[in-house]
Structures are given as structure tokens and as C-alpha cells.
């Protein structure tokens, strides 16, 4: 995995904590919807924040394959690397 992956994960967790509150434990394998109770609309809004954080376009279609924090981080990483 490229070197900026840990940074992506860390920034992503920061955004997730804004939704879940600071006390919730977030691990790479944590399920966004079932464990963090992030509903579909919150997830869509989170994507806009992520787009701005990393200056990328994340089509919401791609979320169909995303369940866990790690999968979302992978998606961001993939889009970010394709851009460079």
C-alpha cells in the first residue's frame, strides 16, 4: 500500500468521529452502516466532505461496494492515485 494510505485512514476517521462522537472506536474493519449507524444520507454528505478534504471526485455509485472503513479508505486511495 502506498505511503499516503495511513494518512487517508487517519483523516477519514477524523471525519467519521464528527458523525459518531469522539468515544466510538473506529477500526479499519468497522462497518459504516451497521456498526457506526451512518445512514444513507449521512454517508452521502460524508462523501462531499471527503471530496473536499482530498480534492477528488468520488462518484456515489462507487459506494455500492463500500461497507467498511477500510473499503472507503481504499476507494479514496484509488481515486487519489489515479489522479496523480
Amino acid at each position: 500500500m502506498a505511503s499516503d494510505y495511513p494518512e487517508i485512514l487517519q483523516k477519514l476517521c477524523h471525519h467519521l468521529k464528527q458523525l459518531t462522537g469522539p468515544d466510538v472506536e473506529i477500526l479499519p474493519q468497522t462497518d459504516l452502516i451497521n456498526q457506526l449507524a451512518i445512514d444513507s444520507v449521512k454517508l452521502l454528505n460524508l462523501i462531499m466532505e471527503i471530496e473536499d478534504e482530498f480534492d477528488i471526485s468520488v462518484p456515489i455509485n462507487a459506494l455500492a461496494d463500500v461497507q467498511t472503513v477500510q473499503e472507503l479508505a481504499n476507494l479514496i486511495h484509488q481515486i487519489k492515485s489515479a489522479k496523480q
Binding site: D39, S40, M48, E51, D55, S57, P59
Partner: protein, 395 residues
Amino acid sequence: MSLLDKLDTVAAARKALLPEGIDVFGTPIEEVYSSTEAKIGGRRILFLGTNNYLGLTFAAECLQAAHAAIDSEGTGTTGSRMANGSYSGHRALERELADFYHCQSCIVFTTGYQANLATISGLAGTGDVVLIDGDSHASIYDGCRLSGAEIIRFRHNDMADLDKRLRRLGERSRSTLIIAEGIYSMLGDRAPLADIVRLKNTYNSILLLDEAHSLGVLGQTGQGLVEETGLISDVDFITGTFSKSLGGIGGYCASNHPQLDQLRYVSRPYIFTASPTPATIASTRAALKLLHDGIELRQQLWKNVHQLYSRLHKLGYQLGPEPSPVIAILLDTPQQALMLWKGLLEHGIYVNLILPPAAPDGKSLVRCSVSAVHTSEQMDYVGQSFAELRDSIFQ
């Protein structure tokens, strides 16, 4: 989880939120007395949640036209627009809508939902981008999904945000369809059309405007936001519905691009469904004439809008950002919204309830829709009822 278990989970979540004994999202209307009054639960109630903006559902001209069409052409077409289902009335309505917008062509669809599905999925495809306002109607989201294009959202009515997202797309902005609504169905606010047009021209994108809630409501002849702003020639495609100010059911897309006609051959929501009934087409044609000439109806509508909006504002209710026939009352919790909805029904007033996640920003909404044919007394009574309910909601 099995397929049926999933539905049980949905049922449990709804049960936890909603009170026993009333079906909030399926309240049966037992009898309809007029465009504004009906019988629910054995009582006379006032409609304040329908989208009957001009009150045309009982207009004599529309009833008469629909009766005549049923008698001469039957109850249904039993065919799609592509096979057996395009009567001369469908074609005539398409011509009349094109003339109404002073544009080249128009296609009629069976519902407004399908008009968006058909237009968006006909225009955009795999490899293209659709850039949509975050508060877009479900039919826009679903049309985008059907298209297979990449879906990007911009923050509701935020033009700096739209600019940023277009810039990020680089060259791809040229194969991007931007979608906005004339008046948004959730909060009742208009799209900042002049800014959207400026951006779409800068980035060479295509613009689709859904005038579902603004048709008949904005502009001298009721064209919608395109007329109010004088920007019709900068909007590439206009979609809309017959199910609101025209008092029927059906939808359309109008455009000056000659390519519009090709949707008839590629668009699944146009091809694979039956066409609107003769009565629907006939009443819609009659309603379109009334809508076009309905300057007084629009004046009355806006008078009612301002009366109710300012009354609710003075009472301290948190409202959508600007007065419009869609008046949304924003509440912090679903419980408050439910209490207000129920309280209004007990006062004989039937409005819409919108709970998260359907409502924006985690809020809950009680949404009123104002009609030109609501009387001043009815508006007074509504204001009075909101006044009586306020303290119990915010205690």
C-alpha cells in the same frame, strides 16, 4: 438476513417512531369534496399538503375534456408510446407544451418520475458525469442511477461548491449533465439559476432543470423559474410534471436541442410503459390553457403564500429560506414533527410529514402546500391552528 427479514426490520423501525392507530403515510381519503376539502376519519378536513397549486383538479374545462375523451377514446391506451399508445392527443399535447415554452420539441411521459428517469438516462451514460444538487428529488437520483453515469452531488444551492466540483472534473465537465430544480420540493427554495447558467457555460456542461413545483407558479405565463429569470434559452432541457399545478398525472421534457427526439428510441422509461390515458391527456391540455392564462390564479396563490409564510414566521416557526407554495416547517426532532402533524389533523388540517433520513440535515419537516383556491378564511384558520399548537410543540 433473508429478504423478508429485511422488511421486518423496516417495519420495526417505523413502529418505534410512529404512533399506533393512525397510518401516517397512508391516511385514506374517504371522500373528496373539492380541490381543498375532503373527508378523513369521518371528518371534514382541509387539504394543505397536496400539490394542487392552481386548484385545477375540479376545473369545469378539465372535467369536461376528460369526460369527452373517455367517451370517445376509452379508459386506457393499453400500449406504450412506441407501440399503439401514441394517440393524436399525445402528439397535440407535445406540440402545445413546445409552443408554451417557445421551443422546438417536447416529449410526454406517463409520470413526472419517468420523465426524469427517461431524460437523464437517455442523455447521460457510462463514462459521463451527472452533477446534482444534494436536495434533488428521488426521481433525479433514480434517473442518474439508471443512466450508469458517475453521480456527484453538490451542496444544496451552493454555487461555490458547484464551481469547485466542476473544476475538479477538468475536461470531463464537457460530458457533464448538471441538474437543478426550479423550486425544491423539500424546503421550497428556488435554484440560483443565473449562477448555475454562468457555471454551465464556463465549463461547457449541459443543464437540466426540473420545474415540477415551479410550473404554473413562477413567471408571467407560468413557465416556471426559466420565465421568472428570463433564462429559458440557457437551459438545455426542462422536465416537469402534470401531477401538480396541472392537476393530472404525467410528465414531460422540453428542449431546443433536436436530439431530444432520439429519447423516444433509447429511453427505457418511455418505451417500456403504457402511455397516459386519453382522459389524462385531455384534462392536461385543458389545464395547460388555464395555467397559461392563469395570471389571477398566480396572484391569488402568492397572496396566500405570503399570508401563511409571514404568519408562521411571526409565530416563531423555523421555515424554509424563502416564501413559496411549498412552506416547510423545520423541527429538531421527529417527535415534534409528529406532534405538530397530528395536532393539525385534529384541527382538521392535513399536511405532509417528512422524517429523517428523507428530510435534509437530520431535521424533520412538516410541509404545507398552498393553493390559489384556498380562501383567505381557510388561511386564517390554518394560522390560528398553528398558533394554538405552538406552545405544546416547543414546551
